[in-house]
């Protein structure tokens, strides 16, 4: 009896495994192929995308996405990014134009010069006042004590955006910044919605210098996801930033993350893995995030102790293994990639002295010979002779980027993102082979993935649950919405559990779609869907005309899901619409009614079907 059960169990397992394998062989129809490629290589299909892909042809369209420099960028995106000046600054420029608290204190104390530009001065004055506020010498400004009439206060709090703007424009110029600071956040967003570009900047500056930097970063991320014509580049930049995750709120990283994504990640997403890995290893953002700046040869640390104590600087203690461990576990080999604790320590020794210049010298990478452990090392069986200096770390990057475990680990992770949570081993092996044969050329690895039958199979089709970012961006794109500003969308991502640039752990956000599903986030998705389609997300405008004249439920489903609606979903929507038009419900309908096609669209975006890609 027991043996019989065991047999049945094993047989079922084999059957299941067999069924999975067959699914990854079953081909797609041409319509499915088009939907599939748009769902995987972009942040979701926009109106017209299906026709475009069909017109160009699948192969050519994919080839273009693999060569983003050959795709003309969307001029709308460039226009929207233009006012976000911090995106184009170096960390050093950022620090001067949008100074951190230490620099503000130094400016106030007169040890470094105050900036000349009046608007920057104003921002720094207010930030200094806020720092002072902590000491309790000042009161937080309120609308009540900003010298406004009660009428003005009421309008600034509760008026329409246009009414707010009118009141604000009538204020004395010297009043404006104080009023901005005193306005509650919700009221400020209202004013922002109606404000011209220069006032928008001023409103953001009222939030403080770091607020502007963070804001621009997130604004750009969502604008690119929604508007860029080079969609695969955006998807890959998101993938690789997340693979080499850095947490925005860890001290100096607030000033480094922008450059990290722009100069370290983005240029390499279709280049050689070795170059990408080296760029991250040398990046101030990563050196700081994973504490390699703290890691020094213990002998050198002891020598320097005396001098440092005199200078009242916190002593550096010695070896810090954080970067070495994550470099192998998360960035290259994978946890089962065949390294030991001894390798971790040896790799850490190789990277001693990989550090960052002082902030005022640009906070760029520097190798500090004095702090480097110059003894001999052994890494994964490779002997690294004494006296190698900076070459030690370079050698490690070389070993790791060409290790077969790395080829497999990276291939599997890409396949998880682009194919399925549990990608078929046959596919991973094909990609890993390309990785090994083509010296880690990531474009070739992607080409292998995109030409594999496993990618174009029923097993991959709609197999992935969307991450919150994918859900939000694909909803906006599917509706063909007009996006003026995105921070309310960023706020939504916080609710959905994926705050941008704010994954604390070096693991990054999960690539397994299943892990994003939980009650709170599902509710948040439904509420987001209704709010978006109901035009209740500030900064985003949705128009029912996207669906043409008098569309029915099936037409809207086709436009948004690119597939037919399931019978259950159609019945549920139908029942909902009938209940709504019942006389009882009609009587208490709110004044601002959502046009029917948009109400249906909201239900569709929150439906089970739309949670998959």
């Amino acid at each position: 009896m027991r043996r019989g059960l065991l047999f049945a169990f094993v047989a079922t397992l084999c059957l299941m495994a067999g069924k999975q394998a067959t699914l990854f062989l079953a081909p797609l129809s041409i319509d499915q192929k088009t939907a599939h490629v748009l769902n995987r290589l972009t942040f979701g299909p926009r109106p017209g995308d299906v026709d475009d892909v069909k017109k160009v042809g699948l192969k050519k369209w994919i080839d273009a996405q693999l060569h983003p420099d050959r795709i003309a960028q969307n001029p709308l995106l460039d226009t929207k990014l233009e006012p976000l000046d911090t995106l184009r600054m170096t960390p050093l420029e950022l620090a001067w134009r949008y100074p951190p608290p230490q620099l503000i204190k130094a400016m106030v104390a007169g040890t470094v010069p105050y900036p000349k530009d009046p608007e920057t001065r104003m921002m720094i004055d207010r930030a200094a006042a806020r720092l002072q506020l902590k000491k309790g010498d000042d009161e937080k400004p309120t609308l009540e004590n900003a010298g406004l009439t009660e009428e003005q206060q009421r309008t600034l709090r509760r008026g329409t955006p246009q009414e707010k703007l009118k009141v604000f424009d009538d204020l004395l110029d010297e009043q404006k910044d104080e009023v901005l600071e005193a306005m509650p956040l919700g009221a400020r967003i209202g004013l922002f919605a109606a404000a011209p570009p220069d006032l928008r900047r001023r409103i953001q500056k009222a939030g403080g210098p770091q607020f502007v930097i963070n804001q621009d970063l997130m604004e750009a991320k969502l604008l690119r996801a929604i508007y860029s014509n080079r969609q695969l580049e955006e998807v890959l930049t998101d993938f690789w930033y997340n693979h080499f995750n850095v947490f925005l709120d860890k001290g100096a990283d607030r000033y480094l993350v922008g450059s990290y994504e722009r100069d370290v990640i983005r240029p390499h997403v279709l280049g050689k893995f070795h170059d990408l890995l080296l760029a991250t290893a040398e990046s101030p953002a990563m050196l700081f995030y994973l504490d390699n700046v703290e890691s020094v040869d213990p002998g050198a640390a002891a020598l320097m102790q005396g001098r440092r104590a005199a200078a009242q600087v916190r002593p550096r203690k010695g070896l810090n293994e954080n970067y070495a461990r994550e470099l192998m576990e998360l960035h290259t080999l994978g946890v089962d990639g065949g390294y030991t604790q001894h390798d971790v320590t040896e790799v850490a020794r190789c990277f001693t002295g990989w550090s960052i210049k002082a902030p005022r010298e640009g906070a760029t990478f520097v190798f500090r010979e004095r702090l480097h452990d110059n003894g001999p090392k052994t890494v994964l069986g490779h002997h690294i002779p004494a006296g190698g200096g900076i070459e030690d770390g370079l050698k490690v990057i070389d070993i790791l980027s060409h290790h077969p475990s790395t080829a497999r680990f990276i291939s599997r992770k890409l396949a998880m993102r682009f194919v399925a949570d549990e990608p078929p081993p046959s596919l991973v092996e094909k990609m890993a082979k390309t990785f090994r044969d083509k010296d880690g050329d990531l474009r070739s690895v992607m080409q292998t993935l995109l030409s594999a039958p496993e990618f174009w199979s029923q097993g991959a089709y709609r197999a992935k649950l969307k991450s919150p970012l994918e859900m939000v961006a694909s909803s906006v794109r599917a509706l063909g919405a007009d996006v003026d500003f995105t921070f309310p969308l960023s706020q939504q991502l916080v609710q959905l559990g994926q705050p941008l640039y704010r994954k604390q752990e070096p693991t990054g956000y999960t690539n397994a779609g299943q892990e994003w599903m939980n009650s709170a986030s599902l509710l948040a998705r439904m509420n987001f869907a209704i709010a978006l389609a109901g035009n209740r997300i500030p900064g985003v405008k949705v128009d029912a005309s996207r669906f043409g004249d008098a569309p029915d439920t099936d037409q809207i489903a086709k436009d948004l899901l690119l597939t037919g609606l399931s019978d259950e979903a159609r019945a549920a929507i139908q029942a909902g619409l009938e209940a709504q038009s019942a006389p009882q419900a009609a009587a208490k309908r709110p004044a601002q009614e959502v046009p029917k096609p948009l109400a249906i669209a909201g239900l569709m975006l929150g439906s089970p079907d739309f949670q998959r890609r």
């Binding site: 604390q504 939980n518 709170a520 509710l523 549920a572 929507i573 029942a575 909902g576 709504q580």
Partner: protein, 402 residues
């Protein structure tokens, strides 16, 4: 039965379960003070001379009946509470509040980010742990599980509660719903009818939880205590309400920020400055929770933690910088309180950790481990704190075991 409609059976059981035969589960409430609270000014070693010499302008003065608002509330002749914690003094006197001093994480990091991460993952020094210790504490599923067995108050699920077991973040009871009745019905029908296993399952769980929380929310309710208006007080108020509703809460998490007092930690008097302001909310909220739950506290234990302590010496800005060991509170019906537990390492120069911070004598995992074993009755700690050899002889013994 009226009012519950199509709710699942266990829900009806839960809602009307005050006399249910099933054993009531023990409940653990974990509180995180984010930002590194200054343990030395919270439970003050007023019997230690160097405390006063190291903090010439920001120490809390020795107990004085003449000015109780601005001096230490003595506990045992050596330690005393900051005066803003006066509401907790009666709980301590009733022997239901225990204190563990010089406790915390052994990891030397002074980064808020790393230290919070370590304390929530329960694996100091190891960054890649994917889940949190509070999630791993949950016993394996038995029968139908309450959708609210593990809850966190706030918009996102904290690190400590992430993991394989179902856990939900609730910003407020009122907001845990689809904010449109007719859409809610459509969504519910779509997910219930979906052939997509995962979405069908999550959809059911979600609408079960919504139904449950809304049925709690709709019942007339008056807490048995006044909570402060701040976010922390409101969090505890909602946790208490759910516990009293007997809907199956086993683990709850809430946090309170604003403890990183590099500047103006203490004002001209002890009742002034940033620390007093935070402690007022902290103490009053915990005291209200204690009073509100009343007899129900028999099953409930609250534990507080913060990522690390602060420097023993004050800095030049009437504040303190990042330090090492800290203080933890444990409050509950089965707590052997009225005592400050743990060896006191002393504050003389040679006794300080790295010459500057309070040294650590109790690993936070030994405090939490004792709660997991003695309060929750979960015998296997190897999964809760992987890589840490739990030795019961290191437990402080603040839980009364029957």
């Amino acid at each position: 039965m009226v009012g519950v409609g199509a709710a699942p059976l266990w829900l009806e059981r839960a809602l009307y379960a005050s006399d249910a035969p099933a054993r009531r589960k023990k409940i653990l409430v974990a509180i995180f003070q984010r930002g590194a609270a200054d343990g030395l000014n919270i439970v003050v070693p007023h019997g230690e001379a160097s405390y006063y010499s190291m903090r010439p302008t920001i120490s809390v003065p020795r107990p004085s009946a003449a000015d109780p608002q601005n001096t230490v509330i003595d506990l045992d002749g050596f330690f005393g509470l900051h005066p803003a914690l006066a509401p907790l003094q009666p709980v301590y006197a009733a022997r239901h509040l225990a204190i563990v001093h010089a406790a915390g994480s052994p990891d030397p990091t002074r980064s808020h980010f790393d230290a919070q991460d370590y304390m929530e993952s329960g694996t100091p020094g190891r960054k890649s742990t994917g889940d949190g210790w509070l999630n791993r504490v949950l016993p394996p599923a038995e029968g139908e599980l309450s959708p609210v067995r593990a809850i966190a108050m706030g918009p996102v699920l904290p690190r400590a509660l992430r993991g394989h077991n179902g856990a939900i973040a609730i910003e407020s009871l009122n907001n845990f719903q689809v904010r449109n009745d007719s859409a809610s019905k459509v969504f519910q029908a779509m997910y219930a009818g979906s052939s997509d296993k995962i979405l069908n399952g999550t959809g059911r769980e979600t609408f079960d939880a919504v139904k449950l929380l809304q049925s709690v929310e709709k019942q007339p309710y008056q807490p048995a205590a006044d909570y402060p208006n701040g976010a922390f007080g409101q969090s505890l108020k909602q946790v208490a309400r759910l516990i009293k509703a007997n809907v199956g809460v086993e683990i709850a998490f809430a946090d309170i920020g604003g403890w990183d007092h590099h500047v103006n930690e203490v004002g001209p008097r002890a009742s002034e400055g940033q620390l007093a302001q935070r402690l007022t909310e902290f103490g009053a909220s915990l005291a209200a929770f204690w009073k509100d739950l009343g007899d129900r506290m028999a099953d409930v234990t609250v534990v507080t933690m913060s990522e690390f302590g602060r420097t023993a010496r004050e800095n030049g800005d009437r504040g303190t910088d990042h330090g090492h060991a800290n203080v933890m509170f444990v409050m509950g019906g089965d707590v052997r309180g009225g005592k400050v537990y743990g060896e006191w390492p002393g504050l003389a120069d040679h006794q300080l950790y790295e010459g500057r911070d309070l040294a650590l004598t109790t690993d936070f995992r030994d405090v939490l481990g004792e709660l997991v074993i003695s309060h929750l009755g979960n015998r296997d700690l190897r999964e809760v704190f992987p890589g840490y050899a739990i030795d019961r002889r290191r437990f402080r013994g603040f839980i009364a075991t029957s």
